[in-house]
């Protein structure tokens, strides 16, 4: 296989990581919403933790985006 | 052409003009921008022609838009922001009317081109920068240095704040452009389904009912998006102007 083709394949595979980060975000926001509907009074107080979880999860997705970009343009 | 969802965004030269090697042609985009300005002006002028204390329906509509923008601006930038009212109101009306013109079949949507939205958002940011530096001098830079942050983190946070500021015109222009582009493409694709299925015999016509319903629903959604995007653009302009007026955190 040519190195160039392997690069593009690698970039595509790295993008799977972004998709899985999407799954994680879906879990986070879905569970937050479920909890918020059960106990709306506590929802606002947990917003910071929601954002924290969102940031940590999304960071992993950003890492795979970074890998994909490096593979594509490096 | 009926099956090509991108065709509606093509720019065609109506009156080719070239001055000094620069292409200044009057395109369909220019035509619809002129129509937008004409439409907005005509609405406001006609509606306020016979001003009464008890307003007519047209006057009510004009006053509603005025008060809506006024409240938005006052709520987000305080009464010091009212000197920017003409600017914000013009932006709001221009985007709103341009989006609404685009909802007519076979009409061109000015705001679905990123060059137009980028020009609008750069205008906003340039106004913010100039006014911020003119009014606050170098104090405007306090915008990038939040107070109450540990000394160690300060350069890091400042860098992030600067990046966040740079990303403003980009998010402002991309949001409007992407919403209008995606909405109109979706509309066209679903309308294309109706035509494609409708030409495939009786069962096809039965099957075409579903995309037809979807098209009608999407049209309603697009009207909502058209108004909402104009509102979002206006309120973000207000928030950024607020940063220029009161830069300290």
């Amino acid at each position: 296989m040519e190195a160039e083709a392997a690069k593009f394949l690698g970039a595509g595979i790295a993008c799977i990581g972004m998709g899985t980060a999407g799954i994680g975000l879906g879990h986070i926001f879905g569970n937050y919403l479920a909890g918020a509907i059960r106990n709306p009074a506590a929802a606002d107080g947990q917003f910071g933790r929601l954002i924290f979880g969102f940031a940590v999860t999304e960071a992993l997705g950003i890492f795979s985006l970074l890998i994909a970009l490096i593979l594509l343009f490096g | 052409m009926a099956y090509d969802p991108i065709h509606q965004f093509h720019i065609e030269k109506l009156i080719p003009i070239e001055i000094g090697g620069v292409d200044l042609s009057f395109t369909n985009s220019s035509l619809f921008m002129a129509l937008t300005v004409a439409g907005a002006s005509a609405f406001l002028l006609l509606a306020t022609r016979n001003r009464r204390l008890i307003p007519s329906r047209g006057q009510s509509a004009a006053e509603l838009t005025y008060q809506f923008v006024e409240n938005t601006l006052k709520d987000s930038a305080g009464s010091a922001g009212m000197k920017f009212f003409p600017f914000v109101f013009t932006l709001f009306m221009f985007i709103l009317v341009a989006n609404l013109w685009g909802m007519f079949p076979y009409f061109f949507t000015v705001t679905s081109h990123i060059i137009v939205t980028a020009a609008l958002s750069l205008t906003v940011i340039i106004v913010v920068l100039f006014y911020g530096f003119w009014k606050n001098g170098l104090g405007f830079l306090k915008l990038f240095v939040p107070s109450g942050v540990p000394k160690v983190l300060l350069p890091f946070i400042t860098l992030i704040e600067v990046l966040s500021f740079i990303s403003r015109p980009i998010s402002l222009s991309i949001r409007l452009f992407a919403n209008m582009l995606a909405g109109h493409i979706t509309l066209k694709v679903f309308a294309g389904f109706v035509v494609a299925l409708g030409s495939a015999g009786f069962l096809g016509i039965l099957g075409a009912i579903l995309p037809l319903i979807a098209t009608v629903a999407l049209t309603a959604l697009e009207f909502l998006v058209a108004a909402l995007q104009a509102y979002v653009f206006a309120i973000l302009t207000c928030l950024y102007l607020n940063d220029a007026i009161h830069p300290g955190h």
């Binding site: 490096g74 | 740079i166 909402l228 979002v232």
Partner: protein
Amino acid sequence: MRHKDGKSDPQAAEDAALSGRLRDLDKRLGENRAARGRGVDERPEPPRAGAALAMRMAADFVAGILVGAAIGWGVDQLFGTWPWGLAVFLLLGFAAGILSVIRTSGVARAPAGGGDGFAPPAKDDEED
């Protein structure tokens, strides 16, 4: 001036009467407002519509990352530091995106005001 034709004279009179009442009301409102102190300038909390907020968040986040990536790529082109500029600025842009999202939503939950230490207090961001 207000009417083109003469036949709306009674209407004009009615308008004048209403104008008088309006001025009266304005005066009384003015007294009332003066007694209450100026209240308009002090709370620049934006009106919020859920859909408008959602539209802002997604685009702000993506724009932060795009700007970070673009600046990082530019830095790399200028200084030949591939791929470190991209890596650092992409992460910074990501942080800026998160910051924008927190700002937008911090405004959204300002009335409840129940921070728990994790969230930066909303008043730092857009209020002043």
